[in-house]
Symmetry: C2
Subunit: 241 residues, 2 copies
């Protein structure tokens, strides 16, 4: 099943694909006027359509049927993960987390982050591609990078299950497993904060706790940053399975 | 923490690193006579050692202390996963599954597999590297490829929780989730069989069921082959968390 994405949907009657999707649809897959195509709006709906203009510059289609909340997941997950030194690893994480089901990616920059700059454009493409490939209609948001502290400040009042995974054991603050914390959740809105290779600073961890984040561990294995991100996505996925 | 691997351990008294590990130890990390190094045997033990010969051609060390079952996991997991078209994806899967904890990788070739040939040498290196990086002492076995049917035949009498994940719904054989099946396991020896992009053939699936494999699904998301492999590894990991 091949899925296209469109940001230009006119009511429930017709839509238009953007340049890249039009190219792929008309040129690569050679869809012609009268052919059926399936299009997502990135907001959760799938549209069964018929092509009415097969120009590679802008494919247009009439909408025959709308399926709302197509293959949606029963939670809302924000993964705020510090960028890895190697960019590939972050892209893999985002692809896999998208397949499991993630609603928002936040590249947060920690005080111990080696990588302080992060380009979101490529990540958006990867997330879109994984969304279509894994047959989802809702496209995860990829936010512009911000500091760990800014993100904590911003989410301090958020009504969500807020978890922070770090490596050091804080005195007097024993961590429970992410699985145990998810099992006793009071909300289906979940935020998981995962630090860089060099871990969070003590100050960041203290600030997170102050803001209502619960410290968790992701088991006994020492997981790489991107693996911890994938583990968080799969822990939530399996919790709702 | 930097870990080395040695296959040449003489009793509990001394050991020798192979060519690559010696090079890394003596040349890259510049370990000298008298320096402390940590070495795994790939069988589950960690050795705290002192270098007595720092030649890059063959580092030798005396063993001061042995830690058995170092960072071991409480299950035995075999992942028999069909190679992906793109080799990178399989390598990523093996790296991540090693971080979670896997005991044996079996590249099985299905009737619908596009890739019929698979080289294990590179995968062994990746698994060793991920084992050391994630601080484990037991090295997962990477078997030579064999057909799905051969593997099923071989494991027909195995006393293990045997699960097969495939996409089609067999008539009269509704699948339960991998999580539910793991929860009611009768053994800590677990085998998960995951098919190629083109799924198992009906004949392979029937043969697996005949051999005691229980059909499972890995949730509502359509996961790529390598993501299904990672999901299986993380499902087992979280089941024991």
């Amino acid at each position: 099943m091949e899925i296209f994405y469109s940001a230009d949907i006119y009511g429930n009657s017709s839509l238009r694909l953007g340049p890249e999707e039009s190219q792929h649809c008309a040129k690569v897959l050679r869809k012609r006027v009268g052919d059926a195509i399936d299009v997502i709006d990135g907001e959760g709906a799938l549209y069964h359509c018929t092509v009415v203009n097969d120009s590679p510059k802008g494919v247009e289609a009439n909408i025959n049927e709308v399926v709302n909340n197509w293959h949606s997941h029963p939670y809302n997950l924000t993964l705020a993960v510090c960028p890895t030194k190697n960019n590939d690893r972050y892209e893999w994480f985002a692809e896999k987390a998208t397949e499991f089901g993630t609603d928002c990616f936040v590249p947060v920059i920690g005080e111990h982050s080696e990588r302080k700059v992060f380009k979101t454009e490529r990540l958006r493409k990867i997330v879109l591609s994984a969304t279509k490939q894994s047959l989802k209609a809702r496209l995860a948001e990829v936010r512009e990078p911000l500091s760990v502290k800014e993100f904590i400040r911003e989410t301090a009042v958020a009504d969500a299950v807020k978890l922070i995974a770090y490596c050091f054991e804080e005195e007097g603050a024993p961590r429970r497993s992410i699985k145990a914390e998810l099992a006793k959740r009071a909300s289906d809105k979940i935020i998981v904060l995962i630090g860089p290779e060099g871990d969070f600073s003590r100050e960041e961890a203290a600030m997170a706790m102050e803001a209502g984040y619960v410290p968790v561990h992701i088991g006994d294995s020492r997981l790489r940053t991107e693996t911890a991100g994938i583990a968080a996505a799969s822990a939530v996925y399996f919790e709702y399975l």
